[in-house]
Amino acid sequence: MTPAAATPSSPAVSIEALRKDYGAIRALGGATLTVRKGEVFGLVGPNGAGKTTLIKAICGILKPTAGRVTVLGFDAGRDRYRLRRRLGYMPQAPALYEDLSPYENLTFFGKGYRTEDLRGRIRLVLGFVELWDRRDDPLHTFSGGMRQRVSLACALLRDPELLILDEPTAGVDPALKQTFWRHFQELKQRGRTIFLSTNMMEEAMRCDRVAVIRAGRILITEAPEAIRSRGRTEITLELAGGGRRVEEAAAYAEELPRLLSGYGLSSEVRRIRIRRPDLEEVILSMIGQKEAGAGKVKTHTGDDPPAGGTAPSATPEDHT
């Protein structure tokens, strides 16, 4: 009998009070989260927060110290063999054989579960990552980004119900990052669920929901915009005569009229400047690392622009 996997309304991933200790080190300290079927779910946190450990638990390659992990209705420990048939997993490191070609790597990993029409699937996924022409070249001749592409192709090989991606775009060039995300959206439209870890804010903004993890605990799980709106907006009123008044508002849309009414909308106010914090700032304030700077969450830089035109901006927003 298939467990709760048959229930369409059941979550894709359900993690309850998951704890993992490596000797005296606590990697996960009671993490709890739910991933809905068909969503793109992001796990955001600094290095060492427990992202990879959590992903391993979902794939059934981690023995939890305590807690429960249910994936597609299967217990990730007890039913791991049945569960893994439905998973696509892309680890953080490419985890491929350097002496072999992409075609040989995919053939080898595809044989684990006897993928149907393996040759056709390999052609399809290598075509998607634009490496079909390099299918017979040994992997050690590939760049880091190209290896990531082969690794993603490997994860897509069996057209999985749930795609688990551990920092999938690390080391991938911006154009290809955009292609990756286009494909993630295509998969979502086909009802697939995507669970990815990232420390890139523009990627977090593209997810339907995001969980922020720190020191093995989930701090919050919400839509990225909802998380962002938790930050305190800075409202600066520049007054006639060079004076200025700075206010902080939790919900600036509500606070602004009150603030302005205090001035009676007088000509004294020359300029109003509203600065909403970006997702990174909000998350950093949540994980309390802004000052320390350690394990800083990455944001995109000028030479690494956010992919896709429709994605919400992750940069600070200024209204004047």
Binding site: L87, A95, Y97, E104, G112
Partner: protein, 249 residues
């Protein structure tokens, strides 16, 4: 299961065939070591006067070399699979513990068999040993030893998280083997406690067979016991490794 075991063994062999440096070294290293052994044994004064024939010992050293190379190679490469994440990926992509262990043993045993054949030929010509009458039992014993060494490597690799942790396990197996297998000191001359310890040394049984067949010219069928113990140790290690290979952290 057979298809998965075959897929792993084929993958391993394909990798090694691509690695020209490895191929070159796996022939050069035995050649250099056997040359060194010959040079050292030939230069020892009065060995022949004591009734010791260098050629009697050559095959023991060859067996030791087979054991050492196969054990170290399989230990390091499987631990490498763990550190690079390919082992975890294999699990997630449907390979089971038993399939992985059997696949690795299959793959490395093919490599070890090739290397063993080369060492046998090398020893025959370097030390002018007439192997032909005993080629079947000698080759069978050497090949079984190579497979047992691979089994041992796969088993030991369970206890190392990275390649660095493999290093202490190399002398832990190789030095007691050199001292307690009978290649350097006759087992009967060892203290009783060490004689007991020698029962767990796989090379001891290979040396017993080689000694009986090559030195004492006894028929192989009269010396099946040590050969079967050797095979039994291999089967035991294989079964243990299938259960101890860590699937979940």
């Amino acid at each position: 299961m057979i298809a998965s075991v075959k897929a792993i063994a084929v993958r391993i062999n394909r990798q090694f065939l691509r690695d020209r440096r490895f191929l070159g070294l796996s022939l050069m290293v035995p050649l250099l070591i056997m040359l060194l052994i010959k040079y050292v044994l030939d230069s020892l004064p009065g060995l022949e006067r004591l009734g010791v024939h260098v050629s009697d010992y050559a095959m023991f050293f060859a067996a030791y070399l087979v054991h050492f190379l196969a054990y170290v190679l399989s230990t390091i490469v499987l631990v490498g699979d763990r550190t690079t994440g390919t082992l975890a990926r294999m699990f997630v992509y449907g390979y089971r513990r038993r399939e992985i262990v059997f696949g690795y043993v299959g793959g490395y045993s093919t490599i070890a068999a090739g290397q063993t054949a080369f060492i046998l030929v090398l020893t025959k010509y370097l030390f002018d040993i007439n192997l032909l009458p005993d080629i079947v039992p000698v080759a069978l014993t050497m090949f079984s030893l190579a497979v047992v060494s691979v089994d041992l490597g796969v088993f030991i690799s369970n206890f190392a998280r990275n390649e660095g942790q493999v290093i202490p396990f190399i002398p832990l197996v190789i030095l007691p083997t050199a001292l307690l297998s009978g290649i350097a000191i006759p087992i009967g001359d060892l203290p009783t406690v060490l004689q007991w310890c020698s029962y767990v040394i796989p090379l001891r049984y290979a040396v017993e067979v080689l000694n009986a067949v090559l030195v004492n010219h006894q028929p192989f069928r009269d010396n099946l016991a040590p050969f079967l113990i050797l095979v039994g140790i291999g089967a035991g290690l294989l079964a243990t490794a299938s259960f101890t290979l860590k699937e979940r952290e």
